[in-house]
Every structure is written in C-alpha cells, then in structure tokens.
C-alpha cells in the first residue's frame, strides 16, 4: 500500500481530531507507520478544527502534503476550505446532514453521508464521527474491523466501555449506508 494523505476537518466538538487519531493508532497497531498532525491553538476554539493523517508502510518523510488523497469534511466551511487540494481521483467524504447541496467535483469521488441524522436514530449524537468512520472504511478498506474496533475499545477505556456497543453500531451504520448507496472507491 503506498502512503495515504488524509485531511479531516469540521467544527470543534464534532470528533474530528479523534477521527484522525483512530486512523493513526490503527496504522501503528497494524505495524505500519502512522502520523497525525492537528491544527492547534486558540483559534480552533468554536471555529473549525482539522488534522492531517498520513499512513504508510514505508518511512514517512514530509509531514506536510500539498494535496490530500482523502478529504473527510464534517461541515461546509471545511469542505470549501480543503476541496481545492485533492489529488486526481481523490475521495471526498462529507457530512450531508450539514452540507445540503450535493457535492460534485471532476476526477474526484464525492460521497455524502448524513452522519448526524444516522447518529440520532442510533440515539447518541456523539457517535456521528463513528458513522463517518464506518463509511470511510467501507470506501477505503484501509483497516480491518478488528483493528478499528480494538482501537475504539482502547480509546473508550474503562470509564466509557459501556459505549463500545453504540460505537460499533455506528461504524456498521456508516458502512451500510455506503453499501446501500452502492458507491465504490477502492
């Protein structure tokens, strides 16, 4: 597998940073290299947060990349900010609960998932980012269910262990939604 450059962005509080970290943790677990780099500082308060992730089975050189292979956009400002920096045939995965008009871009695959609505149906708004994760994995097949679930379990830890179930449900729901859409990417 060659290196994947991934950009994840959204409002603070939407679980954007966690989304990116899960990918990097998964890479480490699968004994390939993972690198995660957040936008940081007070300006992220309230405003939009984003992070970059690189996963690769080779040594990772530049932590900075010009164009992303995958953009995961949790809201409209983020989509607008980053959609211009994608490689040919890149992937845009976006939150259609907050982004109403459908996204169309030449030589890019764009997939919308109503993650907030799905999360609400699951009875827990907080797992919207796991819905997104499910959809993302279904499209990219970057990591196995075992890997992801192990990481999610580790992150939830003792205190939040009871939430593992709904998180796994969310992952499933994301995957199913994409399957039902019938889109393929990788």
């Amino acid at each position: 597998m060659d290196a994947k450059n991934i950009k994840v962005a959204g409002f603070g509080g939407q679980g954007v940073m966690m989304f990116g970290q899960i990918l990097a943790y998964s890479a480490t677990k699968d004994e390939i290299n993972g690198l995660w780099f957040p936008s940081y500082g007070p300006e992220t308060r309230g405003g939009t947060a984003n992070c970059s992730v690189i996963v690769s089975d080779k040594q990772i050189n530049s932590p900075v990349f010009k164009n992303a292979d995958h953009l995961v956009a949790f809201n409209l400002p983020s989509l607008d900010k980053f959609k211009g920096n994608l490689v040919n045939n890149g992937l845009i995965l976006y939150n259609s609960s907050l982004i109403n008009e459908e996204v169309k871009m030449d030589n890019c695959v764009a997939v919308g998932v109503p993650i907030n609505d799905i999360a609400t149906t699951l009875g827990n708004d907080k797992v919207a980012n796991m819905v997104m994760m499910g959809a993302y994995l279904e499209l990219t097949h970057l990591f196995s269910d075992e890997t992801i679930q192990a990481i999610v379990k580790k992150i939830l830890g003792e205190r939040k262990a009871h939430l593992l179930g709904v998180n796994i449900k969310a992952l499933e729901a994301g995957k199913n939604h994409v399957r039902n859409l019938g889109v393929k990417y990788a």
């Binding site: 007070p42 300006e43 308060r45 309230g46």
Partner: protein, 248 residues
C-alpha cells in the same frame, strides 16, 4: 413607543469576540467598554492587552492599545502613563499574567502609586494555554498540571492578590467583585467605574479583581461554571472593597 434599554457598547469594536461560549471575559469586556463611554474617556484611553485569552482585547476595546509581553502589562502601562499623564491607561490581565509571571511589575507599579487602572481577571486557571494550574487555583482543583487536584504540599496555596495589595501604600482603590449573576455584574461595573474615576482624579493605583470563569478548562457548562465561581471560588476569594483612599 420602543426605547433601547441595552445594546452592544460603542466602547467595543465590531470584531467578534474570540472567547469561548459563556466565558466571563466577554461580560467584563462589556463593563469596561461601557464605563469608558459613560466617563467619556474612550478617546484618550490606552488599553494594555496582556497575554492570555484576552490578548486579543487590543482588537475589542474601541480605543488605542498596546499588546504586552506576558506579565509586563503594568510595566507598559507605567511607561505609557508617565509620558502621557493626560491619557487614561489601563491593563486587562488574567491571573497567570498578573499573579504569576507579572507579580513583580504589578506590585511595583502599585507601590509607586502609578496612576493606572488594572482589571484583574481571576479565573483560577490558565485558559489560553489549555488549563494549567494558576497560582490562584483552588486547593483540590484538578488542572492539567495538577491532575490529582492542587495539593498544598506540592503546589502551594492559592495566592490572595487583593489581600496582599491592600498592604501597599500606593494603592488608591482595590475591590474584588464577581460576575456570576446580573446583580454582581452590575456591582462589578460600579467598581470598575470608580477605579477609572480615581485615575481621572490622579488618586493613584487602582485595581479591580474579578472572580471570573473558564468554562472550557474547568470542564463545566457555562451555567455551571457561573455556579462554581459562586460556590467554590467566592468563599476562597471573598468579595469586597480592600482599599479606598477616597473613602472618608
């Protein structure tokens, strides 16, 4: 017919505040701005913005401003006021800025009786940097650098700035106020107004300590943060006038 009772003060620029939802910085900004307008000193005011979440206040107060290195606001204020005695010079500082790294500059400005006004925001934590312990943090308070709660043996005691400054000759007015409900916000404004009036009368060093909040780094909802500042902070930092040279 409708008459405006309350609207955004002309003492504030129309820049959107950078503070977190429900942060008292915004409330206290309004009070200072309203006082500067009511006393008609906005156009000769010089705000000294310190380093902390309120660093951007140089863009919020609708007057000239200087942005100070961390803790040195009272030194900048001294430098400016001494060369421009006709201007109104005030600093706006957090507890990390004033009580920790800036304690020397603040004490000596007070001791010299510099004719400036200090607005001191005591939120018992370092907000800007993400919730480290401040010298004002309460015993037992969990912060990112006192993760098991502030322990006197390791981290020392909450520092009582107003109590200490009350012993300083050059201080003309010194009051500790709160901002956790409308009644106290209105009282806080009175104190701030008095401080600026004393400066206009060249009475000396004036300071208002505001028991404030940091909902985000306290890990509380804004409303609960207000409650905590009342129930947990106020007992440790009792409100009141600590010094008033004008009082007969």
């Amino acid at each position: 017919m409708w008459e405006t009772k309350y609207e955004k003060s002309s003492g504030l620029t129309d820049k959107k505040l950078s503070y977190c939802p429900g942060c008292t910085h915004g409330i206290i900004h309004k009070l200072v701005a309203e006082v500067l307008v009511e006393l008609d000193i906005l156009d000769r005011a010089i705000a000294i913005a310190s380093v902390g979440c309120s660093v951007f206040s140089y863009d919020f107060f609708n007057c000239d401003a200087e942005q100070s290195p961390h803790g040195r606001a009272c030194a900048l204020a001294t430098g400016a006021k001494r060369v421009l005695p006709e201007n109104i010079v005030f600093t706006y500082q957090g507890d990390g800025d004033l009580a920790s790294i800036g304690i020397a500059e603040t004490i000596h400005a007070a001791n010299r009786g510099e004719n400036i006004t200090v607005i001191f925001i005591n939120n018992a934590i370092y907000g800007m940097t993400g919730g480290q312990m401040a010298p004002t943090s309460l015993l037992g308070q969990k912060t990112t650098t006192s993760q098991d709660g502030r322990d006197q043996a390791h981290h020392g005691n909450p520092i009582h700035i107003s109590e200490m400054f009350a012993t300083i000759e050059g201080v003309a007015y010194l009051e500790r106020v709160a901002a956790y409900d409308p009644k106290h916000v209105i009282a806080a404004k009175k104190a701030i107004k008095k401080a600026f009036q004393y400066q206009m009368e060249n009475k000396g060093f004036t300071m208002v300590e505001v028991v404030a909040t940091c909902p985000v780094n306290w890990g509380l909802k804004p409303v609960d943060a207000m409650k905590w500042s009342k129930t947990a902070m106020e007992p440790v930092y009792p409100l009141g006038v600590f010094k008033d040279k004008g009082a007969k």
